[in-house]
């Protein structure tokens, strides 16, 4: 469904991603693991068109998307949840959802505020509240909910568990499982291997902008050498 081929990305002179290739199949949950600064966020930004790749190709559903503007990429059905959440704190919860809303897409179920609230029940109670008055976990849920309102077929989640309390992380894992069971494809980045192994089918490990490892998440979880080499455990 999504494939990256020999992707290179730079910030100015700094060469961050080198030769990254990865695939995400329809209905899969794939995790991109790696330490801080490994290039996970950069990969997701490149896919989203927020940082146009230097070279390489990105295909989504058969169409080439690198070089397209972010809003065009989003409209093709890619939903992006950034790591710092970037909630519109000047807006209410409902208004945040409205910004994410897009027209219905063929062959994709339509998300409505009601459906989103069914997935994240605690958002429903604060629909008229300003997003500035929400906790970190609530903001993370709102960020995902807001992106779902665009009816994506593939969700890019940048470190959804970052900075959250264990209870909320467990809840987040359940929500992602729920989305998967509804047929959504997910590519997420993580540092938390425990969380990743709860939600993902397959894993890629990034180190210094290169893919070092790929395979089933269970293999990685059972491979202490790989864990020690690439992850901060």
């Amino acid at each position: 469904m999504l494939s990256l081929r020999n992707l290179h990305a730079c910030y100015g002179q700094a060469h961050i991603l080198a030769d990254v290739s990865l695939d995400v199949g329809a209905g899969e949950v794939v995790v991109l693991l790696g330490r801080n600064g490994a290039g996970k966020s950069t990969t997701l930004k490149s896919i989203m068109g927020l940082l146009p790749p230097h070279s390489g190709e990105i295909h989504f559903d058969g169409a080439r998307i690198d070089g397209k503007a972010p809003h065009d990429i989003a409209r093709l059905g890619l939903g992006y949840v950034p790591e710092d959440r970037r909630i519109f704190t000047d807006l209410t919860v409902e208004e945040n959802l409205e910004v994410g809303r897009q027209a219905e897409r063929a062959k994709t179920p339509l998300w409505t505020p009601e459906r989103v609230f069914a997935l994240f029940p605690n958002l429903a109670e604060m629909r008229h509240r300003s997003a500035a008055q929400m906790s970190g976990g609530e903001q993370q849920m709102l960020a995902i909910a807001r992106t779902l309102m665009g009816n994506p077929r593939l969700l890019l989640l940048d470190e959804p568990s970052e900075g959250l309390a264990p209870v909320i992380i467990a809840q987040m894992a359940r929500s992602i499982g729920e989305l998967k069971s509804q047929g959504l494809t997910v590519l997420l980045s993580e540092q938390n291997l425990h969380f990743a192994s709860q939600v993902a089918d397959r894993a890629y490990v990034l180190e210094k902008g290169r893919i070092r490892y790929q395979g089933a998440i269970t293999e990685l979880a059972n491979d202490p050498d790989a864990r020690r080499a690439y992850l901060s455990v």
Binding site: M48, L50, A69, P70, H71, A74, R75, Y80, P82, R86, F88, T89, D90, L91, E95, N96, E98, V99, G100, R101, Q102, R146, T147, G150
Partner: protein, 628 residues
Amino acid sequence: MTFSSIVLQFINGLAGTSSLFLVAAGLSLIFGVTRIVNFAHGSFYMLGLYVAYSAIGFFGTTILGFWGGIVAAALVIGVLGAVIEILVLRRIYQAPELFQLLATFAVVLVIKDAALGIWGPEDLLGPRAPGLRDAVTILGGNVPQYDLALIVIGPLVLAALWLLLNRTRFGILIRAATQDREMVAALGVNQKHLFTAVFFLGSLLAGLGGAVQIPREPAQLFLDIAVIADAFVVVVVGGLGSIPGAFLAAFIISVVKAFCIGIGDVTILGFDVSFSKLTLVVEFVIMAIVLVVRPWGLLGRPQGQQRGAGMLSQPLPQIGRRFLLIAGSIVVLLALLPALGDRYLLVLLIDILIFALFAASLHFLIGPAGMVSFGHAAYFGLGAYGAALLLKQAGLPMELALLLAPLVAGAGALLFGWFAVRLSGVYLAMLTLAFAQIVWSIAFQWDAFTGGSNGMVGIWPAEWLSSRTVFFYLTLIVCLGAVAGLWRILYSPFGYAMRAGRDSPLRAEAIGIDVRSVQWFAFAIAGLFAGIAGALFAFSKGSISPDLLGIPRSVDALVMVLLGGVQTLVGPVVGAAIFTWLQDEIARATEYWRAILGLVILLLVIAFPQGIAGFAGRLLARRRSAQS
């Protein structure tokens, strides 16, 4: 004051609120979403008046024709704003903030000449509103009916805007984009369409603000700059991006102004105080007070640090032997030029040298010190007025006047800089503009001391300096010496402290630099050197006028610096030379030199977003890296 006159002035102020609010709201919306400080916003107001004048003339002065003409004018201006966004601004959203500013100022120039071409130089007073021509009597005073209509229009538009921003998808997108445009785009919203739509709305509001004034105020060509200054003040006082804030600020400013006029001339403690003359200054005083007490405006929200303009972080080049050699040759060449005996060339060269110093002093502030000033001409003008006043009013010899005049400018910069360094980014820039406007107003109105709008004449150099050639050498020595002095400061410990404070205020504080004081002195130094240029200018022309302090001259200096490129040392000098020469050439060729200049600036900004010298520097660097 009696109770009835208080009420009447209050009504007067309320009537003035509407237009001011409309313009400021538009400016605020546009800035919020696109982050562009749109200098052309005042031009849209001005065009609103002109177009309304013509439209009402076309539709006829019936009730329908009048209001139809006003609505039509607003729509026309809205479309014009959208077109300008599509043609010009859309190409430069990625360019540094200051270049966008420059582009919008170029639009100001083009619009002014277009208006001159279409409507001519005469003031055009529109018809009074049919059905609202009379006055009603309130507490024994006469209030025009149309004023009452205006009092209703302002709050109506405020309510409509509130509904738009809070109850429609478009409005919600505007508010979201004001906070984080990139995120809005990542959620699938086409930024281009959003920006164009916001420009349409904002320009429409400015056009409407102008159009509704048609029975009260003639359409005039100077309104563009006057109104943009007012709109800046309102937006800054109310809080950038806050629509209710804009209304509140427009209200406070209008009412205070109305009271100043109402009070008129009174004697307080034996002094004659003319409150009506205060009107030009009073809004800037309000702004200065608000900014010091609540730097983010009455209803605004504190913003993050945004000093500098995102393009200034490159280190300054080291001055090498080659640089000195080339500079030396140019100086020698310049020194030989009087031998040609071309009097006109000397006059032009004197101008270029003076403006090179003026631009270099502004560059000092914008580049290394990281403070953008929209009002640097204040210090140029203070130098010029200082020289003239010291010569004429104090009767000092010319040499002494020339020597002391820059201190006047430096003192002014020390005073205003104290306020300015408390702010950053756009707020700082607008405050500098406000201060420049204060100085201008004083020079413009104090007939007895400064000669008012006529200025002063007979400010000639001393006998031994009176020949063009000698004065040229004086200018050459002083200007080059001063520019070299400015550069010397950049590479002194003070200069390093300045740049450290610009690039990373927190770290600079941590290593013991008092960033605010450093900036304050940098501001004063820049003012002092601009004053040197101004004093020389006064003696080179023999006369001065308030134009020297005006906003257009401040912008000229900005154009010079930006044309040349901010990252380079010679940029401002190159920019000043090209700008002065170009202006001179075009002005001799056509009455519409402003439009030509504007178009040239637009082309340059779109083609060379790094400035000319910056562009040449990059070419050189590319050639060098290709060779190695």
